[in-house]
Symmetry: C2
Subunit: 141 residues, 2 copies
DNA sequence: AATTTAAAAGACAAAAACATCTTTTAATCT
DNA sequence: AGATTAAAAGATGTTTTTGTCTTTTAAATT
């Protein structure tokens, strides 16, 4: 489903959403420690997310990454699109050139069901809402 | 979700189930042409499926690959397990070391919903049943 | 027995994904 | 201004996945 980069990206964004703000930034080192992922690799990913305006960052001492209030309003699908591209949810699970109700593959309708459950949380809810839900349920981020 | 190899494998097995039998085999060349996938790559995959007893094969002239009646009774999950390993359906969608209701990731419950839809067709039905359903709906294999 | 056919097997090559390391830039603090 | 800190940027390295090519083996046909 998601590439490793994308998994790291989603986890990083959710973590930043839960624990940072303009005045409470987090460095790559600290974030990498929390998520237990390779620091430099995560740095690359954050770089890209920052370039695309999905996360905010500041250089220098007291610098680091964080999610602004505006950043939080975006859906998680922006992260997925930024890293894995926009095709993840629209492409055929068996790799057929087109996925659709006309000319569907044998797994199409079941795959669609899967996708829709995920799309709800990825596309229809904001990052802020996802984190809120997760914190209510006491999930670790 | 599935690796490219696994996608090819699933499509190949379904095609073989629909169009071959002990007395009506199909060569890699013909199969690769039908599925529009690279011949030698497909050959490798079929080799592995054959080694694991998921598809049947015969060498020499009039040789080729086919699905025996016994082969057809297996679920598609055998193909998936043979190529991508058994973890595909049980591992966390965000790559956490364990996936479960205790310590679930923020996407866990939605991911589960997806998975279950797919597991129904992959694990609970035989290859023969999947193909039958597909042929009824006039899907291309 | 010789020839042909097609899978089995394995070596090899290219590309993508994953990961690390170093240098540069910019902000803060002294 | 100089030192320090941390992201930005980019070069480099490794591994996995994907794909191709060649040789070997075995069966069928002549
Ligand atoms: S056609 Fe395969 S998932 Fe839609
Ligand atoms: S814990 Fe992530 S999908 Fe189950």
């Amino acid at each position: 489903m998601f590439s490793k980069s994308c998994k790291y990206a989603i986890r990083a964004v959710l973590h930043l959403a839960a624990f940072t703000a303009e005045e409470r930034k987090l460095g790559v080192q600290a974030l990498a420690d929390s998520l237990e992922v390779p620091k430099h690799f995560l740095g690359k990913i954050l770089q890209e997310l920052s370039r695309q305006g999905i996360v905010s960052s500041a250089k220098g001492p007291t610098g680091g990454f964080f999610l602004s209030d505006a950043d939080r309003q975006a859906p998680l699908s922006r992260v997925v699109e930024a890293i894995d591209g926009p095709e993840v949810f629209s492409s055929c699970i068996l790799g057929l050139p087109v996925c659709g109700a006309d000319n569907p593959c044998p797994l199409h309708f079941q795959a669609l069901e899967y996708r829709e459950a995920l799309q709800e949380i990825i596309e229809d809810r904001s990052i802020a809402q996802v984190v809120e839900g997760a914190l209510e349920k006491d999930l670790k981020l």
